[in-house]
């Protein structure tokens, strides 16, 4: 029962990681770039949300409703002002540019919010749980998991069925050919990053509610998102979701073996997947 409980808690944790990973999978799929500030943006949005809750007295759901459009705006601006200049075959410029921005962003947050850990008051929802026999399931993690599933399904449907999704896939397959048939890559890229960071609005709210955030936490969130994407298979939306579940379960089981082993267990599973199935669980060998 101990282990079943571990798996259940891991799936719930995976719901949060899926919200980190979706945007990263989307951006890599479309532009082949990694935004190193991905994790820092989760923290930035969470800190903005906490300040909004304190200053304007917003409840958690109002914070969520504010953070998603703020995230989308930040993503759009980030792509327009910065990332569009460094998209290309060479991975170095985009990586170094966002790496520098990540250091600047972490320290700017440190100046504004100090190194204190903070969290978002959820009005009692953090403590609520339902029992399924001997296993207790937190209401908040359940909401997170449902949200993650809906976001994944929604993003997948957008990619498959809409005109916008088609232009995204076209730009991802061959950006020059896409430009020739009327897709403006810069607009498509900006929209993709806006969606990616907008989804981080969900991740930020839930992370701040279920645990604490501090300015230096970003790199950890980046690494978890990355591991989920690689485990699942590059560029696949449902792959990222599955990868997040596997990462969450590995960490939850690791924590039950020894508290110091949880995060490390996640890293080891990631390395094992690289060794055994480098194309990820979902992606077929090309």
């Amino acid at each position: 029962m101990h282990w079943i409980d571990g798996i259940v808690q891991g799936v719930l944790l995976g719901g949060l990681y899926a919200q980190y990973a979706l945007g990263m999978a989307l951006m890599f799929g479309v532009m082949k770039i990694v935004n190193v500030t991905h994790g820092d943006l989760v923290i930035l949005l969470a800190l903005i949300g906490i300040s909004l809750a304190n200053v304007a007295g917003l409840g958690p759901w109002a914070v969520l409703a504010t953070l998603v459009p703020i995230g989308a705006a930040i993503g759009w601006l980030l792509q327009r002002a910065l990332l569009n200049r460094v998209v290309g075959d060479d991975p170095l410029p985009s990586l170094i540019a966002t790496f520098g921005l990540s250091i600047a962003l972490q320290n700017a947050m440190l100046v504004i919010w100090s190194a204190d850990t903070r969290s978002l008051p959820g009005g009692g929802i953090q403590q609520a749980s339902i029992s399924l026999g001997p296993i207790f399931i937190g209401v908040l993690p359940l909401i997170v998991l449902i949200c993650a599933t809906l976001l994944t399904g929604g993003l997948d449907a957008v990619m498959r069925r809409t005109r916008f999704g088609r232009s995204l896939r076209a730009a991802s397959a061959d950006v020059e050919a896409a430009a020739m048939v009327g897709v403006n890559p810069r607009n498509v890229y900006a929209a993709a990053t806006a969606i990616a960071v907008g989804i981080l609005g969900f991740a930020a709210t839930f992370q701040a509610m279920r645990s604490t955030v501090a300015p230096a936490d970003g790199p950890f969130q980046l690494i978890f998102a990355f591991e989920a994407v690689i485990i699942g298979g590059l560029g696949s939306i449902w792959g990222a979701f599955t990868g997040a579940m596997i990462l969450g379960i590995s960490q939850a089981i690791g924590f039950r073996i020894s508290p110091g082993f949880g995060i490390l267990a996640g890293h080891l599973v990631f390395l094992a997947v690289l060794a055994i199935r480098p194309q990820g669980i979902f992606k077929r060998k090309s």
Partner: protein, 334 residues
């Protein structure tokens, strides 16, 4: 008889070589002319130069971007601490014996991570560094999160330690800078430069790109590890967060990007700038790091060649010339 000859050395290169050798001799002689504080500063600067130059070889020539080189700093520093403190090996010997650890570790790391595309490779190296930090934190042999102290150093006098530090700093610069210089001037240098400019075209000319990348990854791992062992020998203390500190990646990237990627001169310029910036503005903490981060960002966006690239646009006087120039012979005495 050929009417052309290949020229590699320049006047500026000869002068720089003399200055470089004089500087190395000056460093070796430090115990007899420099203060304790100066020796410590020179050792620190040498470590910055070495780590940055190794990153430069990886990213600027090998086309491999890593943000996890601190993995090798930590592993070889810990190897040195264990050999010297736990097994009683002479610490100065342990520095070199411990370099086996990064060399061995680099093979499986590269083997696993080279399956990832460009930017993902880089984040992968970060995961490995994080995993190693957690392993060190959980290992009783390394005294876990509490870290280790190099108490065996008390058996040496202050002068003996100064001599060893100075020799190690000079050896570190000789191996990382001199080694890179020799490598880049050899036929491997041509292969590396070709690979940097276009890996596919280089492969079509007979360069074994995969093997060369693996070799450069191992070589830079050892060079980076050497710097780590020298640095932590001077610190006398090591903990997992300090050994596997992401700041090693930050400083290497800053130095190379600001100084100028793909040149040894750029690394020297960048390292001196970083060293003094850290000294003068380090007290401003977060604000200083914001500026550092934004400068790295600005270099990646607008200033790809860095300071050395900017300077070289007007003055062609390389300190470490690696270019081959074809000179037409005058007259018949060829």
């Amino acid at each position: 008889m050929s009417k052309y000859r290949v020229v590699r050395m320049t006047l500026s290169g000869r002068l720089a070589l003399i200055l470089f050798s004089a500087a190395l001799l000056g460093i070796v002689a430090m115990p007899w002319w420099a203060s304790q504080g100066l020796i410590r500063d020179v050792v620190t600067l040498a470590c910055y130069i070495a780590v940055a130059q190794m990153w430069n070889m990886l990213a600027g020539y090998g086309g491999i971007v890593s943000v996890g080189q601190q993995a090798f700093v930590g592993v070889s520093a810990y190897a040195m601490f264990v050999l010297a403190q736990t097994f009683g090996m002479n610490p100065f010997v342990a520095v070199f014996v411990g370099l086996i650890a990064p060399a061995i570790l680099a093979v499986p790391i590269y083997g696993l991570l080279h399956r990832l595309e460009g930017a993902y490779f880089a984040i992968g190296t970060w995961v490995v560094a994080e995993a190693l930090r957690l392993v060190a934190t959980n290992m009783p042999m390394l005294n876990g999160g509490a870290g280790m102290s190099l108490r065996v150093m008390t058996q040496f006098s202050a002068h003996e330690r100064a001599v060893a530090s100075s020799l190690l700093a000079a050896a570190l610069l000789l191996v990382t800078l001199g080694g890179s210089y020799l490598l880049l001037r050899s036929r491997y240098g041509i292969a590396l430069t070709a690979m940097r400019d276009n890996p596919v075209a280089a492969a079509s000319q007979g360069v074994d790109v995969g093997r060369l990348r693996l070799l450069i990854f191992i070589a830079t791992a050892v060079g980076t590890g050497f710097a780590g062992a020298v640095y932590f020998m001077a610190q006398l203390r090591i903990t997992p967060p300090s050994a596997f500190d992401a700041n090693w990646a930050n400083l290497a990237i800053f130095i190379v990007m600001v100084g100028g990627i793909g040149s040894i001169e750029g690394v020297l310029i960048g390292a001196v700038i970083y060293f003094f910036a850290d000294r003068w503005f380090g007290e401003y903490g977060a604000s200083y790091l914001i500026v550092l981060g934004l400068l790295t960002l600005a270099c990646a966006l607008y200033f790809r060649g860095g300071l050395w690239g900017f300077w070289s646009r007007w003055v062609e006087a390389p300190w470490f010339p690696t270019r081959r120039r074809l000179i037409r012979q005058e007259g018949e005495n060829a």
